[in-house]
Amino acid sequence: MPASTSLPEFERALREHLAAAHHLARWLTRTQVDAEDVLQEAALRAFRSFDRLRPANPRSWLLRIVRNCCYDARERREHAAEASLEEEMLPPDASSPVLGLPAEDPEARLVRMADAEALQGALHRVAPEHREVFLLREVEGLSYKEIAEVAGVPIGTVMSRLSRARAQLRALLAAGEKETA
C-alpha cells in the first residue's frame, strides 16, 4: 500500500529540509509556538500529498507547504481578531508592510555589513512577501525558479519582489545607521 511504502521516503525528505522549514516558519509566524504548530500542520499536509505528487524538488515543495500554512495561520488569526492577542510577543511593526520609506538616494552612503539586530529589525518591517523571497534567496540559497515554486508566483514576480526587498532593507539599514550616527 502506497502510504506505508512512501513513509520512509517522506521522513527522509522531512528530516533533510526541516531546518530550512523551521527557519522559514519562524520568520513568517510570531512565536516559536506558532511556528511549531504550523510545522505540524505542514508535515501532515505534506505527507498527504507526497504520494500523489512525488515532488521532483522536495525542498521547495516542503517549503511551499510550510509557507502556505504560515499564511493560512495568519489569516485565521486575523479573522479571529481576539482581544487576548499577545501583542507583547510582537516585534515592533512586525508583519505590517513598510509605509513611507525614504526615497532611495542614489548618493546614499554605502551600507556596510550591518549588525544582525539591525537586519532582523529591518526584515520584520518589510512585507512577508518580500521578507520570504529575500530569506529564501540569501540565506537558503534557492534559485529564482525554486523561489517561484515556493511562493507560487512567476519568476518575474520573484525578481521584482527580491529587488524591492533589497532596496527596502538597504533603505531601512541606512536610515538606522543615520539615527545612531
Binding site: 502510504a3 527557519h23 499577545e86 532593507l169
Partner: protein
C-alpha cells in the same frame, strides 16, 4: 550598457541568474562605473550580513520526532481500503449502531485544546487550584481513590524542577478528569488525566491562546498537559511524565 540597465541586472547577476552574454557586459560596465560598482558592493554586504550574521534558530530538541510521530499516527489512523468491502461495510454498520449507543451514554473522548485551556485558567482563580494540596505523591495519589475509576499517576518531579503542588477533580468536555498541578518557577502546569480507549498515542501538541497543550495516551490513560512555560520545558516535562 546603460546604468539603468545595469542596475536592473546587478541583482540577478549576483544571484547567478544571468546568461553568459549579459554577464560579460555587466562585468565590463561595473568595472568602469563607480555608481554601479557601489550598488554591487552594497548588495554583497547585505547578502553577507544575512548569511553570516542573521541568527539561525536551532531546531528545538525533539521537534523532528514530534512531527514524525504526528505523521506516523496519522498514517496508522488511515483506514485501509479492503477488497472485502461488503463485509467491512456490514461490520462498520454494526459498529456505527454500537457507536450511537456508546456516544450517547459516555461523554466524548476528545477534549479540544480550548476546553483544556479554559479548565487551566479556571484553576488559576483563587481557591480553585487544588482540592488536595500536597507535594507528597503518597498523599495526592490516594486522595483520588474512589473519586475516579483509575489509578492516578501522581508523581513528584521536584528533582527535575517540576514541583507537585496538589490535585483536584475537574470537568473537561463534560467528563470528570483528574487534574494534577505542578509548579515550574512562577508557572503553574495542569496535567489532566482520564481513562481513554486504551490505544497508545505519541506525543503531539497544539496551542490555544498562548498556552501549549501537549497530549498523549499511555497504558489506557489519556494525558493533556496545559501550561505557559516555554515550549522546550513543556516538552521536557511531557517526556518525563511519559517515562514515569
Amino acid at each position: 550598457m546603460t546604468c539603468a540597465e545595469a542596475t536592473r541586472l546587478i541583482g540577478p547577476w549576483l544571484d547567478d541568474e544571468l546568461d553568459v552574454r549579459s554577464v560579460v557586459e555587466i562585468e565590463a560596465h561595473v568595472a568602469r562605473c563607480a555608481a554601479c560598482g557601489r550598488e554591487q558592493s552594497e548588495l554583497l554586504a547585505l547578502r553577507e550580513t544575512a548569511r553570516e550574521r542573521l541568527p539561525r534558530p536551532g531546531l528545538p530538541p525533539g521537534l523532528e520526532e514530534r512531527l514524525l510521530g504526528a505523521v506516523r499516527s496519522a498514517t496508522a489512523a488511515r483506514p485501509r481500503p479492503s477488497r472485502r468491502w461488503l463485509r467491512e461495510a456490514a461490520l462498520m454498520l454494526a459498529a456505527a449502531c454500537v457507536a450511537v449507543v456508546v456516544t450517547s451514554s459516555i461523554p466524548r473522548a476528545a477534549a479540544p485544546a480550548d476546553e483544556l485551556v479554559d479548565a487551566h485558567l479556571r484553576s488559576l482563580q483563587p481557591g480553585h487550584l487544588t482540592d488536595v494540596a500536597s507535594s507528597d505523591q503518597h498523599t495526592v495519589k490516594p486522595w483520588f481513590q474512589g473519586k475516579v475509576d483509575f489509578a492516578v499517576p501522581a508523581r513528584d518531579f521536584s528533582a527535575e524542577g517540576f514541583d507537585l503542588v496538589g490535585g483536584r477533580l475537574d470537568l473537561v468536555g463534560g467528563r470528570q478528569v483528574a487534574a494534577l498541578v505542578y509548579r515550574r518557577r512562577q508557572h503553574l502546569l495542569n496535567l489532566f488525566v482520564w481513562a481513554g480507549a486504551g490505544v497508545d498515542s505519541p506525543l503531539r501538541f497544539s496551542s490555544s491562546r498562548g498556552y501549549r497543550v501537549s497530549r498523549w495516551a499511555l497504558d489506557g490513560l489519556e494525558y493533556r498537559l496545559v501550561s505557559d512555560v516555554p515550549a522546550a520545558e513543556a516538552d521536557q516535562f511531557a517526556a518525563l511524565l511519559r517515562r514515569g
